[in-house]
Symmetry: C2
Subunit: 686 residues, 2 copies
């Protein structure tokens, strides 16, 4: 985990420092000085005796004891340098800017391993290599610009890509997004995104820690750790927005006809983010917009008031919010509403959007916000649109807006579109600690995305009726490959998954006995003949013992019949549950309606095992076919609690059967609370 030498070093040495600030070793020293690092700062350079006015040593051996070393020297020199520092200078923190390691060659990978080994041997930490560095409250240890304004209650940010981290900051800063700590983890040799999350989680203090975390991730090495700390942080009150780039590569993999195999690695990421409660973003603009939204009080409900001095943007925002599931309700016709209308200019509208016209002023804006805050109880949040055609100053309006944003309990999202006309006013507004959303539609979409992201799920594994010992016995008794039917039955029984039961009987009394065990209605089929239907060897809807006896006699007379198979008759809506094991992620569960619903409409939702009941319910609710499952046009639906229970049980079962690489219950037939798996395929790979 990150240590105090990295976070609050008493001394920093820049190895490979330079007077040329267009070089990383020059720029990083400049940044450290310009942003007022208060500890002792040293430079190492074999040629220059003084660099940027800083005491410079020709060799690392000559340095005094050093807490943090920042290396900007050729890769091949790094391992030895790290070793000297670690072993003779008590250095416990390293940031290796240099590239040319595992990302480039096998030799580089070896150097990287050597450094990690050395660092580990002294209990230190290593950031990088191949990164831009770190920004903390204490120092600006990056070789890039811009250096964002430090704000302990701003945004913590960890990025798997250095350049992308810069571009993300460049997207956030103009919106007014502030940053606390920024870590660029580069090759993640020792410290990756997961370790930074771990540190943030373990040290989280609601009073002092940054309440918002941003992630840019290209690969997740340890999904369990990622999930654990991300969801823990969110449970502690933190909010996390993240990009996991690379969805399309996975998405373009040839779709398999086997539903369980439909889970791409991107669906695993999707499921992981959802389980953790992270808002998944797909671009820099969206990421910084969501992080900016996180700077506000949480929207408690779905009703928004839009307050505007111009019609168009309010209409577009209404479209975007309603489209994403938020609501712009009509305001109730009360005295308050009438009184508010009186305070506005003629022609203003106090419906919702509240349009107080191009001539609307600061005082009116204050009155509208107050009414929404105090009087319109249904309203959960506000969006205020106020630009300028370039005539009147807007300073007083932005002042009122800024004040109200700080005092109101309901969140107020400002949309100040006139980034040219009132550039200075917008800049002042931002410099007062506010964020701005210049485009209402981008805000609207991000806001609905935040609103729709579920809370992290809890960690309990549901084990009622799940016989773990028996599950292990069955799995261990299986060979690699597809499990035989009897093993599948045994396995599903151990997890209390209802499966259409079967009995093969050879006498009429056996048949009557089996019927009692199986219950009615029943299906009876001949055993022996190949084309069962054509020889009249299938009887459906057997409803009583009398019918059992008659049909048994009839069936046994059919040529080639050696016995009769009796099975529970499943009926109702066709459902499926699938799962596939994804390396490191574990089992990704899928559910949906079977057949064309999954194959043509791709109507599938996913979750990461083990699942909780709320998660399973959310998977079911998010199906497009939810209406059908819920009972549609007189057709009886499926008991959703029962369906959810089956999904949860299966996910618990899989947790103890990692040898199961693919599982496919397809179909399950469901009507009311009677849901029966009719067919199942399970593939084992040990």
């Amino acid at each position: 985990m990150l240590n105090k030498q990295l976070l609050s070093p008493k001394s920093i040495a820049v190895i490979g420092a330079s007077n040329d600030v267009s070089k990383p070793g020059g720029k990083i020293l400049l940044n450290l000085q310009e942003h007022k690092y208060k500890g002792k700062l040293y430079a190492v350079n074999p040629r220059d005796p003084e660099i940027q006015g800083i005491k410079t040593f020709a060799k690392v051996d000559e340095l005094p004891m050093i807490d943090l070393a920042i290396l900007a020297i050729p890769a091949k020199l790094c391992p030895q340098t790290v070793e000297i520092l670690a072993h003779t200078k008590k250095t416990k923190a390293f940031i290796v800017i240099s590239a040319g390691f595992s990302e480039e060659s096998e030799q580089g990978a070896e150097w990287e391993r050597q450094m990690v080994e050395t660092v580990k041997s002294v209990g230190g930490v290593l950031i990088g290599p191949n990164c831009i560095g770190a920004l903390t409250p204490e120092y600006a240890g990056v070789f890039t610009s811009p250096i964002p304004k430090f704000d302990p209650k701003g945004c913590d940010f960890v990025s798997g890509s250095g350049a992308t981290a810069v571009f993300i900051m460049e997207s956030g800063i103009p919106k007014g997004l502030h940053f606390a700590n920024v870590f660029s983890v580069g090759n993640s040799a020792q410290i990756g995104v997961e370790e930074v999350l771990e540190y943030w989680d373990k040290t989280y203090d609601p009073e002092t820690s940054a309440p918002v975390k941003m992630l840019y991730v290209e690969s997740i090495h340890n999904p369990d750790k990622f999930l654990w700390h991300a969801s823990s942080l969110i449970r502690k009150g933190c909010k996390i927005a993240g990009i996991k780039a690379g969805s399309s590569e996975a998405g373009s993999r040839a779709a398999s006809s086997h539903t369980g195999a439909m889970t791409s690695s991107d669906s695993a990421v999707e499921a992981l983010f959802r389980k953790a409660g992270i808002v998944r973003c797909y671009g820099r603009e969206e990421l910084t917009t969501v992080a900016s939204i996180f700077m506000f009080e949480e929207l408690k409900g779905k009703n928004m008031a839009i307050i505007t001095h111009a019609g168009g943007p309010a209409v577009m925002l209404t479209d975007a919010l309603e489209d994403g599931g938020l609501r712009i309700p009509r305001l109730p016709d009360t005295k308050v509403k009438a009184a508010l209308k009186d305070k506005l200019f003629p022609g203003s509208s106090v419906e919702n959007p509240i349009d107080f016209l191009a001539t609307g002023n600061a005082e009116q804006l204050g009155a509208i916000i107050d009414a929404c805050e105090n009087d319109f109880d249904d309203i959960d949040g506000m969006a205020v649109i106020f630009g300028s055609p370039g005539l009147q100053p807007v300073t007083d309006v932005y002042k009122v807006l800024s004040d109200k944003m700080k005092t109101c309990k309901k969140p107020i999202y400002p949309i100040l579109p006139s980034v040219i006309n009132v550039q200075k006013d917008v800049a002042y507004f931002i410099s007062s600690g506010n964020v701005n959303f210049p485009d209402e539609v981008l805000l609207g979409r991000a806001l609905t995305k935040v609103y729709r992201t579920p809370k992290p799920s809890d960690e309990n594994i549901y084990l009622e009726g799940v016989d773990v010992a028996e599950i292990r016995r069955v799995v261990e008794s299986c060979e690699n490959g597809y499990m035989p039917p009897e093993k599948i039955h045994a396995l599903l029984k151990a997890a209390s998954i209802p499966f259409a039961q079967e009995r093969v009987v050879q006498s009429v009394d056996e048949a009557a006995e089996a019927a009692k065990e199986l219950g009615f209605p029943l299906v009876m089929k001949v055993v022996g003949p190949v084309h069962k239907t054509e020889v009249g060897g299938v009887s459906l809807n057997i409803r009583d013992e009398d019918m059992v006896r008659k049909e048994f006699a009839r069936l046994m007379k059919i040529k080639g019949t050696t016995a009769v198979l009796m099975a529970e008759q499943a009926e109702g809506i066709e459902l499926f549950i699938g799962a596939s094991y994804q390396d490191k992620f574990g089992h990704v569960m899928l559910c949906g309606m079977g057949g064309i619903f999954v194959e043509v409409f791709k109507d599938v939702t996913s979750g990461l095992a083990p699942l909780t009941f709320p998660e399973a319910h959310s998977m079911i609710r998010n199906l497009k076919a939810y209406k059908i499952i819920n009972g549609y046009r007189g057709m009886e639906g499926v008991d959703k609690d029962k369906f959810a229970e089956i999904i949860v049980r299966l996910s618990s079962m899989l947790r103890f059967a990692v040898e199961i690489k693919e599982m496919d219950l397809n179909p399950l037939l469901g009507k009311g609370d009677r849901i029966l798996a009719v067919d199942a395929r399970i593939r084992i790979e040990k």
Copy 2:
């Protein structure tokens, strides 16, 4: 239509001019002067003898002859002022900035009508009232800022909202979007968006006209005119991007169970834009991004090369493009590729994305672009991502990029994300006439949207086998309300729509005769008994005359049977075609698969009647259920040409039957080229 006095006035008078530039009448005079209007400029103001150094008259009566008058005086004074100018000063063009007309009160609407009448009586034009004015190559006749740089080959823009127009320009200018003419039509008293489109269409000259048009529309008064001129412009080589705000209000209307009634007014807009070939946008950022894309050569195919010096943004752009249907193909392993790799630094990748590393330089960028332009034939366009971490200057890189953008035949979209680090370089890049897309994902989404927008459809009405005279006879013979079955049959027959035919027969010879007419297979049902199935009164799959005779005899013996109904037996996939008449738009046609596909999955596409074959095919192809219609997993599909023909014929029929307000063919059953309408409902309202 717009006249030369409005577009190139020899003289302009600002009525209500002021020395106070925070007032519209002051600011507009300032804009006219600052942006060097070359004609004669006069001011009218009863109090000040000189305003902003301009010759000022106390009353309009004192003015000389005036081409264009811009009114910024109280609404109630406008009608009289217009009258004096029109009748005594030969003024033929008016821009009425003032508000307080039809948008505010009945009195205002009356003043507005008076002005229009006066202006029409002298053959003049009126822009507004309640608008920000107009920007043309000759003058800056708006009271707002910013005044964008004039570029005759930039973007023409017409807006139904003044403030929104300002905000849209403020969104476009920082991207480098240039403008030619801008019209704010306000209340559209005489000149609306349609009339501006008409003018652009009629005067379009590929050599001199602006090749890109942007629209912001809140309501479409004359969809026919809108469609005609927009599609005509696009056929002439123009590109149009538009926002029609207000989709959600319509979207939230209670969904009707009647499919034909599912067409909301927004689906009419959607169908109109698609038919015209306009790229529909949903926000300012998207609109100006699409308009910026229009400034490039058209992307001829779907294969893009991504050229980048940073991995992250390239991955995110790949995701966005692939997600939207464009492709980032692997580059072929050729000598060219090997030679290109040799020119780049070690560690660079010449797969696609082509990553030439953080250290990549201008020369390398040039080589990569040249290879994509000349050697990689599969590549249709390029996106270049180049930001800066703040170390090296990027001037030479941006110079190469700018040069290549001007000389290459394939479009090159620049993504310069470092809007802070290299602010000046980006500004210089833009000032050289280039646009910039700061966010790769927003570009990616807009680019795929442009790529997927179909070309405008042609205007021919398909009339083969559509008996217009008979259609009129049938419609005219109907009362208001739902048409009786025999009328529906007659109507569909007149349009050559295959409908499951029926005959009621009372003798066995009649039955045999009917069978010959109807063809096999047949359905035979008893006429008389209520519960036909329960009494065994329904026979399916009648395949020859012999069976007809036997079944007739059997059915007639069933108690209560008075006759036998014989009908063509339809089978196959369930389809539906619906239509509803939308005020001013005409008939919006819908198609899809029936039942839950439309009701649960909302899998419906729409188009505006009359439809062409390419449009109908596009409607079918865009259904999610297309795979099923196409034949799925051994299940025979439907002949798409036949299905398209039925849709087209119905749309032609409706063109001559505006009295049909709702039509619902549900289901049609289709298998191969045999598609039969089985049930139809048509509602007439004259």
